[in-house]
Amino acid sequence: MTTVPRPKFQTLTEQMYYVLLCLKEECCGMDIMERIPAMTGGRVQVGSGTLYNLLEQFAQAGMIRETRAEGRRRSYILTDKGKETLSGEYRRICAQAWDYRAVFGEEAAK
């Protein structure tokens, strides 16, 4: 069996999802590292190396853009392309949740 490589960022990992979610508002990398655990009750944490690489790759893919740089502190914000990717991922997660309910019923989802 051969596996066909997926296009980059067609589906997002949990960490990618939350990084993009944080960037709805302008913020820098350090803020993201604090916001994600706060947003998820500590369930999701993004490593510093991972975050650094993700910001770089998202910027290269045009999903975020740099808004300002104060020394080494660089701030980013989501672009339209990033919003589109994020909402696509949201729809995918919702579809999964919907399918779950369809199989197990509303009560089991609570």
């Binding site: 990618m16 350090m30 944490q45 490593g47 510093s48 190396g49 991972t50």
Partner: protein, 456 residues
Amino acid sequence: MRERKWDFIPFSFYDTTGMARHLEKRAEQGWLVERMTNLGWHYRRTEPRRLRFTVTYYLRASAFDPEPTEGERTFHDFCAQTGWKLAASSGQVQVFYNEDPDPVPIHTEPALELAQMGRMARRALPLQIFLLLLGLWWGAAWVWSLFYSPIDLLSSVYSLATGPIWLVLALWCGADLICYLTWRRRAKKAALLGEFVPTRGCHKLLLAALAVTGLGLAYILLADRRPGFRLVLLAMLALYALLFLAVNGTRDFLKRKKAPRALNRGVTLTVDVVLAFALMAAVTVGLFWGLHAGVFSGRPAAADPPLALEDLMGTADDRYVTDAQEDATVFLSRREYRQHIDWELARPGEGVPSLDYTVVDVHLPLLYERCVEELLRDRDDWTAETEDGEEVRLYTYVAADPAPWGAERVWRRWRAVENVPTGDWLLCWPGRIVVLEPGFELTQAQMALAGKKLAP
């Protein structure tokens, strides 16, 4: 009490788990890594602590950077945010430690780490594959020689010592490559599930390879009896050390002077190439001078010949010169003797006999028959083409009566095309083989005398 120490563990580039575990062990012993160089890792004494280490790569860094770039500093800032402090870095390798016993790892997305390692591998693997092919080529040639021409191989200290070095190099490169590819395959599968796979390198095998190389060089230095060549080998090792120090010194000097990366790389590379050529030229010139001046010799002189033309002819001629050379290892020795008159000293029309012979003493009985076979095959590649275009051998050995020689087994060399015997013989005694090539036909009495003189 020492405040500084260093060690040298040649970890594979991908074995970041192995590196981190090693540094954690050192920290528990009270040594914190502070510097990484080509010669090893340097530590300073601290309180023994349980620290968590992570070794990672910052691929845009270079060993020629005068100081960390803005991007690299930003990366360090990110790491500091989660408690990861930079302990040491060297080029792209970055070592962080964390005092928190359960910190957020630097890498939390396995696919990203895998991609980063893949990019690192694309830089490191071509050299490793080249070394693997080189080691396989020379190692295979050595093994082939061990079976088909053991005399050539095992009589030479240099040939004997270099074979295992090539073989162990091929073994390490191959094993390391397999380890990396196996880890990569497993890591790819695990990354789909969001899991990391710890790395496991072959640094112990590389240490063994380095030990074999060191032992091989030491053996050559101790056992090579060619006049002057020990000096040549020492000079070459010293020149390599000088080249290594000069190149590293140039790079570090320019880094201290804050020279830009491109300038540093250009100057260091130029120094490397120019110095390498200059040093090799110096060694080559010195070698030729030494050979010409008689300071060096390709092979050491052998002891007095056991058999001389005077013994066979009964008369002496002071125009004769005798060349005697010997190669020897613990496995076997080969002594070659050649007694002849220079053609300039021969009178016109004078038929002057000559005497050539090779004495091979085999110290390991296991090798004996292989050595006999090698000598019997000695002229198999002397061929000619018949009128029909068929390739035929010019010489062949035919078994002969050993009794006149007092030997165990004897072969005589024949001209295969004309089917006539030559005056050359292969004589075997237990542990000794002699190829006797007198330039004339021996009588029965001369055979008996030669056999007596050449027997072990």
